[in-house]
Every structure is written in structure tokens, then in C-alpha cells.
Symmetry: C2
Subunit: 160 residues, 2 copies
DNA sequence: GTGGCTGCAAATCATTTGCACTTTC
DNA sequence: GAAAGTGCAAATGATTTGCAGCCAC
């Protein structure tokens, strides 16, 4: 089961139906639930994780439908795709934010971006920058604490 | 065929044999060529692209060998893995640098990082930052120019 | 009513793995 | 000579697709 979000500040979001209808897409049951599931967590769920959670509410949805919808919701900008080394993930937080990846447990945390920060340094000439994103790597508090005690720990988030 | 690198400033690199032997790994023909191929370009080749290029020099290498070696070279830190939406890519540039992704043609350019830049803004408390990486998105010069003329263009880099 | 959407199952594509044979050290 | 590495082919896993029926508009 996907845990609820912890303390993420989210941008106020328009009702889903609008953006969809504007492009001739329908707001169906599965689609709505898939969107709700991705938005309800800050764990950046994998496709499999979204599928599992959606099935708890709609036991008949198929994996294909989840794939199709995540793809189309991402194309509409209603969720964001994240390519991680372990595979594709989805981020329902549409507010501008960066990410922190714990190199020990693999969890990815949202880092809210303080107001409209300019790109951290000017890149090469000739390029028109439209946006940027910062990925931090390090160790989260829990893993730092655990590192002191010799208790074995999960190497990576299992993706659910 | 993988184009040569353009103008990337690379960190001076130790001869491949050392880092490998230090970990009980052998410097074989395929392994050496795979490393050379990834290092010789700044195009961030996919596995398939590396395979194609390596085969031009060693026609008998198998795809499995390329996978195994890229994985192990990445584990040794001799190349870097990049998870992109289109799939796994490899980066032979070991100097600290950021990336610029052209949203039109999909190409990823290396952005050299001016000296040791501190993280662009302090992230959340409780996290120990070990490194960070910046991804820029926008349009490259070529695509900006082409946008003026109504010539159709490749939507995305084909990954080779 | 109709076109988009769905579930299902089969097809495709990427990646990994088992094994007998080579090669490096 | 032993262990690591290789080629090959088969296995696994992830994602996509075809299609007949369903449902939102």
C-alpha cells in the first residue's frame, strides 16, 4: 500500500476533468483513480505500485490501462514522469521542486524550491534554458542514524 | 556510428587496467573496447549504440557481454549510468558536469561545471548532501534556428 | 450513437542468466 | 592452471498492442 504524503507543499491544482476534456480525453473511473493515487503520495510510485494501489479500489483494472493512463496523464502534465535507475516512477507533485535521493535506502524526497530560484549557474551559450531541476544525493536522517547502530537495513526502497 | 566528442573538457583519467585490477577484474579485449567507445563520445550512448559501435571493431562480441561490462564499468566508476526517460544511457565523461536536454531534439549536452560549485540552495534539514547534479531543459541552438524555418525535424534523438 | 476507453491476452522489446568454452593473470 | 570473462541461446521481466465489448459525452 502506498503511504500518504508526509508534508509536501503542493501547488493548487485545477480539477482534472478540464485539462483532459480540453484535449478530447475523457474522465473515466480508472483514469480518475489512477490520478488520485499518484497525487495522494509523495513516494514517487512505480507503475507496479500504482497498479497495486488502484486495484485495491478498482479490482478489475488491468495493468495495460494503468500504463496507458500514466502515459497520457504525463503527456497532459497532470503527473510527472521520473526516470530513475531502478525504473520509471511517477510524481504527482506539480509544484516546482527538486529531489533528494538517499544513496543508502534509495528513497527520493521532494525538496520544495524556495520561490523562483534562477538556474544555479549560467550554462553554455547558444542554449535557451526553459527550466532546470536539481538532484541531490546523500543520506537521509534515518539512514544516518541507523549507520551508527550495526543493524542490517534495507539496501533499497523496493519500489512499492 | 557514434560521433566523436565535440569539445568536452574531460578529467584526466587513469589507465583503465589499474582501477580494474584493483578490484580483481581483468582487462579483456571486449572490456577495453567498450570502455574506449563510451569514453570516445559525448553523446551518452544507449546500450544498443555501444553494442553497435563495439561490433564494428570486434564483430564477435555479444550483447550480453556489453551489458555485463557496462554494468561492471559503472560499478567501478569508470563510466557513469544515466537513467533517461527513453532508457538507460552511459556517460564516459568523469569530470563534474551538469546536463542540458533539448526538449525538441532530445539530445543531451554536457555542461562543464565551473570549479567546485556549492549546491545551488540548501535543501531540507536532516539530510547530509554528498553531491548534486543539475539538469537543464530547453532548446539547443540548432533546434531554435530550425524552429524559424518550417522544415520538419526529428522529434527525438534516436538513441544511437 | 459514436469514439474513446477498457480488460484481456498475446506480442514485443529490453535485460539477465546458464552453460560450455576461452582467455587473462 | 584457476578463475574471470565470453558467446550463444534461452529465460525473464517490463511495456506495448490488437481487439471486441463498454461507457462517457
Amino acid at each position: 500500500m502506498i503511504p500518504k504524503k508526509t508534508s509536501a507543499r503542493r501547488a493548487p491544482v485545477a480539477p482534472p476533468g478540464e485539462a483532459l476534456r480540453a484535449r478530447g480525453l475523457r474522465l473515466t473511473g480508472p483514469r480518475r483513480v489512477i490520478l488520485e493515487v499518484v497525487r495522494a503520495t509523495d513516494r514517487h510510485p512505480s507503475v507496479a505500485a500504482v497498479y497495486a494501489e488502484v486495484r485495491r479500489r478498482l479490482p478489475r483494472v488491468s495493468l495495460g490501462t494503468v500504463y496507458r493512463n500514466l502515459r497520457c496523464l504525463a503527456a497532459e502534465g497532470l503527473v510527472r514522469e521520473r526516470a530513475e535507475p531502478a525504473g520509471l516512477r511517477f510524481d504527482g507533485n506539480l509544484a516546482p521542486h527538486d529531489h533528494f535521493t538517499c544513496v543508502t535506502c534509495g528513497r527520493v524526497l521532494d525538496i520544495p524550491r524556495r520561490r523562483v530560484a534562477p538556474p544555479p549557474h549560467p550554462p553554455a551559450p547558444g542554449l535557451r534554458i526553459m527550466s532546470h531541476r536539481v538532484e541531490f544525493y546523500g543520506r537521509c536522517g534515518a539512514c544516518r542514524r541507523r549507520a551508527a547502530a550495526p543493524t542490517p537495513q534495507r539496501r533499497r526502497d523496493d519500489g512499492r
